[in-house]
Symmetry: C2
Subunit: 345 residues, 2 copies
Amino acid sequence: MALPPSEGLKQLAERTGVSISTVSRVLSGKAEKGRISVKTRERVLHEAGLQGVVINEVARGLRLRTTQTVGLIIPDISNPFFAALARQAERASRVRGYSVLLCDSEEDTEVEAGNVRLMRSRRVDGLVVAPVGGRHDHLAAVQKLGMPLVLLDRLLPELDVPGVASDNAVGAALAVEHLLKLGHRKIGCVQGLPASSSNASRVSGFLDAMARNGILVPPSWVVGKDYTIESVKQEALKLLSIPSRPTAIVALGNMIALGVLHAARELEIQVPEQLSLVSFDDQPWAEWISPPLTTVAQPVEEMGARAMDLFFETLAASGSNITPLNSRVILPMTLIERQSVTRLA
Amino acid sequence: MALPPSEGLKQLAERTGVSISTVSRVLSGKAEKGRISVKTRERVLHEAGLQGVVINEVARGLRLRTTQTVGLIIPDISNPFFAALARQAERASRVRGYSVLLCDSEEDTEVEAGNVRLMRSRRVDGLVVAPVGGRHDHLAAVQKLGMPLVLLDRLLPELDVPGVASDNAVGAALAVEHLLKLGHRKIGCVQGLPASSSNASRVSGFLDAMARNGILVPPSWVVGKDYTIESVKQEALKLLSIPSRPTAIVALGNMIALGVLHAARELEIQVPEQLSLVSFDDQPWAEWISPPLTTVAQPVEEMGARAMDLFFETLAASGSNITPLNSRVILPMTLIERQSVTRLA
DNA sequence: TTGTAAGCGTTATCAT
DNA sequence: ATGATAACGCTTACAA
C-alpha cells in the first residue's frame, strides 16, 4: 500500500550539507538563474548521481499545478487501429517529457464519462480522446473548464473542439465509385457502431455517393450495430439472405470485413466471384487474405502525430493567452485496389 | 500550462459551512468512523453533487503515499498481442480503482530503463512490464526497493520476480512435432528479437524438439533478428535461397509469418505445396490468410488477467507483511491446425 | 460531533 | 550565492 521509500531532496540536501532549496534549484536546472556556485552545483549533482535520486513528481505536481501527463481515452485499445494511434500518442508525449494515463472506454459512454472524471481528479494536463459518441456533456464540461482537449478519429459535430480524423465520407465515396465503375449497382453496407461519428460519416458518405449516382439504397441494406465478429456475421447473413442480394458489400472496418467473409463462407458465396468486398482500415495482413482485400486506408501514423501536435499546441495556448486555436484536421483516405472486387458481367 | 481551476474540499467546505476535515471525512467515506452527523453528511453530499467536486488525487497521493496507479511498460503497444494484454491490464486496474500509466519501450532496453525511472518518479504503486530483455538492472533495482513488480509474457530467468508467460518451449515443440509427424525433416526457423525471453524459449524449444528426434539443425537455419516485416523478409529470403532449402518453416510470431509469406512469394515458392509454415500467436485473420495459417496460440486474455491478479496480490502482500509470494505462472499453448502445412510425399 | 493543525515533498518568494 | 518559509490540497491525530 505504501510507496517504497526513496531518496528525495531532503536526504540529498542533508548528505550534501546544503539546503533543500539549493538542491531543488540545481536539480531543476535553475542553477543559472539562482546563481548557484559551480562548486555546490557539482557537489549536488555528484551526490545525486551516486544515490539514484528520483524526485517526487507528485509533490512537484501539487506545487506546480501540472502533472506533465496527458489523459488518453480510447474505445478499445486492443483494436489495432487504436493501438497504433496510442503508440503515436505515447511516443509524442514521451519525447516532450509527458506521460500518458490510459483509459479504455470499452465503447461505452458511461464508462467514458467515468474515465473523464478520473482523469480530472488525477489532474492530467489535458485530454486526447476518441469519443464513443452519443452523450458528450462530460466532454463539453472539460472544454468549458478550459482544459485542453483534442478529439481523435471521431469528431463531435455538436462540439466545437479541435481534433483530427480521416475524411470518412469521401473514403466511403471512393469505395462506392470503385464498385460503380466496375458495374455494381446492388451494393450493401455493413457498419460498426452507429453512434460513432467516423462510422456515421462513412455511412452517409456511402449513401450520398450512391444517391449522386441515382441509386437509392433501401434502409435494410445497411446493417450492423457493433464490431464483434459474431454480430457482424449475423448482420451480414441477413443482408446476404434476401432474395435479390447485393453483388457487393462495403465493410466499414477491417474486422467487419472478416465477419462478412464468415457469412459468405456459411452461405457458400464465393468472394469475389459472387460477391465483391471493399473494406476499411488497411492492415499488414489484408493483402494476404483470400482474396487479397481491396480497402480504403487511413493514414494512421499521421493521424496520431497530428493529433498530438494539435494537443500540445492547445496546451501551450491554454498557458499563454494566445487565442485557443480550434483546428479540425481532416486527413485524406486512399483506395488500395487488390482482388476482392470483380467487374460485373 | 496551469491546471484548470476546480472545486476542491476547501471551496466545498466554505459553501457548506463546515470544516475541510469534515468534508474530507464524508467524501472519503469515513463518515461512520468519524461519526459525522447524518445531517451534515447529507448536506455535504448534496453540495458536492451540485458542484462537480473532483477531489485532487495528486494532493491525496502525496499525503497518502500511494497513487493508485500501476505502471505498464510494453515493448510495442501497436502489436496486437501486446495491445490485447494492455486491454486486460487496463480493465483489471480500472475495476479495482487503479489507473494505468502507459509506457512503450520500443523494444529498446535504454528506453525501458528510462520508462522505469519515470514511473518511479511518478510514484506508481507498482510495475507490470513485458521486458525487452538483455540488461535489466533497472528492474532488479525496482525489486530491491520492494516495489511490486510482475513480468508479462517475457520472464527473466536471472531475476527472481513473479510473472506470467506462455509455455513457449513446449509451444515450439508442438510445432516441430506436428511437422515431423507429417514427414518434414528439413525445418527452418525464423525468430523475432533474440534478446527477448519468449523468443529465446521458442528457439530453444524448437532446437530441443528437433534434437530429441535426432535432427541437428544447422545454426544458419535459424534466422531473424527483429519483427519488422522487411527485415523478416530478407532473413527468410536467405533461408529459402540455400541449395537444399527447408521444406517447412516455423515462424515465431504472426508478423513473422507474413514476412515469410512475402519471401516465398518473391521466390515463387508455393505455400503449402512447396513450403509448409507454422506460425505463432493466433489472430482473427489467421484463418483467412491464403493458405489459412496453422498456428501455435497463446491464451492472451488469460495471460493478462492472471498477470494482473498476480500484481494486485503482490501489491497487497507488500502492504501487509505477508511473505511476498513469488509465483511464476506458465500457461499452456495450443496448436491450431489449418492449411499451411502439408504432408511430405 | 466537529475543528485545528501538522505534514506529505516540492518550488518560489523573500531574506540574508 | 544560499537559506527559511509559505504554500499546493489533502488526511489524520488530537483537541474541543
